[in-house]
Symmetry: C2
Subunit: 343 residues, 2 copies
DNA sequence: ATGAAAGCGCTAACAC
DNA sequence: GTGTTAGCGCTTTCAT
């Protein structure tokens, strides 16, 4: 076992070893300013030979430039945020910027901590899910002086820029489509998450639109934790037992909807003849099921792309006016579980 | 629109505003050393009022301490790595350390870039998937002088510590179980990813164990991109058309296995009477399917926990001897698709 | 094309 | 319990 604490290599080491000043070494390593081809090669060779890795901490402090973009999302395990990340990464890959992910698990205090931690690294921008944040978080965001893009939702007031869909509208559209197909006894299945504001807004839009036609949600079921597919299955069984006359089930996400659909098919329930079903998100995953669950695509990759583009543009000084607002319109996918009447 | 470039708040501002020295402000903010309750309160109040967020870049440079752990994984979109992340986060949440994720998409050059970028922030440790890395990556890791934990796989030589399962062994065990159940015409379905070394090792172990019993894989099918569930379905159809006498299908992951299972059930193929099936990973998701696919749990959360623990221990100076090697033993889950003979 | 000096915002180490 | 001093490793700016 050699000594535990190797001193880190510095520009100085490369400078000494190559006989070129620190400053010139720095120039070579950053491709900045004019350097003769000879010194350039020599420096590069020495740096590589020594295994030198620049210290961005020192670099960032000196230049007050940090090529990091903070991305703060509620969860990684539900298939929708990884897709947002894909969109973000796609755009940032063409820039010098790097995404750094923080996960809040839908806890506002956790969001506050993560945000504080991230801002303390002075990133070039922040992308965060949702419009609902603690007062402290809002204060930090505003005080930070960096571009902020709130994503996923446009129903509310943004700190700066915002990219997303209207979940209220999504709920309304779904309700209208369901009513149009002649369904009347409608049940709702969702998560026991008071802090999932987007799910709540969809539900509000949904009931609101139903009310306009004189209908209401006649039964509800909520779950917490566990495998969404299993929960969807179980909840569907429960809600149908309690309310045998339900003719439609609206799920707050595709995973539980898929579980419900598998259950219904297994039980030989005619879908959508006897029972219609719909979920939300438009996850690709659904396409592998025996029947296509009706759903609404939230355009997650697109949201990620647009958000990253805003940050990238501002970081490059390309846009001076803040406060962009991009509302995407979710597309209803009828699949095989919503259409009672032939199209 | 106010001025675009607000000067960032510094310790100095808090110091001036509260009439306490910078040093003492720093002490308060970090809970270090003795500070009188009076000054403490005053400082905290001022910092909060001003909306001061410490600059970790400066702090890290001065203290040469960075509470970041680099986590480098191939992908976020396949359900297994988010689980590893969960395990890592679980352990790190009890420490000062913070995970920072980098994604390589299974490209070694991309891994090299991500690693370089991350090391340039001088993290307290690195957790990265797999044992196969470019020479440059290996050199960087060794030169970094920080704890390195390679995860998921133990079949090979590690740079420092390693936590995972033996995929070769996993493949062998699965083959033995299949043979024991009397299956003889075995097909394999996997991904077209030459760089997924773990999948390859499973396959090698699998064929090797089959060979010992005089059997071999009689048909193979590979896919690329797209929804794994759909692909599993399609590949299963194709492989069965070409080889109607197959009596077992071994899938390189649970998602394509699930697609295949749904297909088989839909077609009325008797599983496992006529056709046995097995996947790999033990994703929770499977539990929602009509039948339980046989699989092998790779213990992803456990791997994440153990890896993070090693980093946390070393960062706390609790362990001086490097090179830990933790091999987890994957558990075969028979489910409903592997057992022909009653247990 | 290259170098020297100053300092980014903080903390370690030492005084008092 | 609190303050002072001297950097951390780099980049900016200005000379040459």
């Amino acid at each position: 076992m050699s000594e535990n604490h190797k001193r880190q290599l510095t520009l100085r080491d490369v400078s000494d070893e190559s006989g070129v000043s620190e400053m010139t070494v720095s120039r070579v390593l950053r491709n900045r300013g004019d350097v003769s081809e000879a010194t350039r090669t020599k420096v590069l060779e020495t740096a590589k030979r020594l295994g030198y890795v620049p210290n961005k901490i020192a670099g960032a402090l000196a230049s007050s430039r940090v090529n990091l973009v903070a991305v703060i999302i509620p969860s990684l395990s539900n298939m929708v945020f990884p897709e947002v990340m894909t969109g973000i990464a796609e755009v940032l890959d063409d820039t010098e910027l790097q995404p750094v992910v923080g996960v809040t698990n839908y806890h506002p205090e956790r969001e506050e901590d993560v945000l504080y931690e991230m801002l303390s690294w002075r990133p070039s921008g922040v992308i965060l899910a949702g419009l609902e944040h603690s007062d402290a978080s809002l204060a930090m965001l505003r005080a930070s002086g960096i571009p902020v893009v709130e994503i996923m939702d446009v129903d509310g007031e943004a700190v700066d820029a915002v990219v997303g869909i209207s979940h209220r509208r999504a709920g309304r559209e779904m309700a209208k489509a369901i009513v149009k197909q002649g369904f009347e006894k409608i049940g709702f299945l969702g998560t026991k998450m008071p802090l999932d504001f987007r799910a709540r807004k969809r539900f509000e839009g949904f009931t609101e639109a139903l009310a306009k036609t004189g209908l209401e949600v006649v039964a509800q079921e909520f779950y917490e934790g566990g495998s969404a597919l299993v929960k969807g299955r179980e909840m569907t069984e429960v809600i149908l037992e309690r309310n045998p006359d339900l003719d439609f089930l609206y799920y707050s996400n595709d995973m539980i909807g898929a579980g419900g659909l598998l259950y219904a098919l297994e039980k030989g329930i005619a879908v959508p003849g006897r029972l219609g079903m719909a979920g939300f998100n438009g996850v690709e995953f659904l396409r592998g099921l025996p029947k296509q669950l009706a759903t609404m695509d939230a355009g997650r990759i697109e949201i990620g792309r647009a958000a990253a583009q805003i940050i990238a543009d501002r970081a490059a000084g390309r846009v001076t006016t803040g406060g962009q607002r991009i509302e995407l319109i979710p597309k209803l996918q009828y699949g095989d579980t919503l259409r009672r009447y032939k199209p």
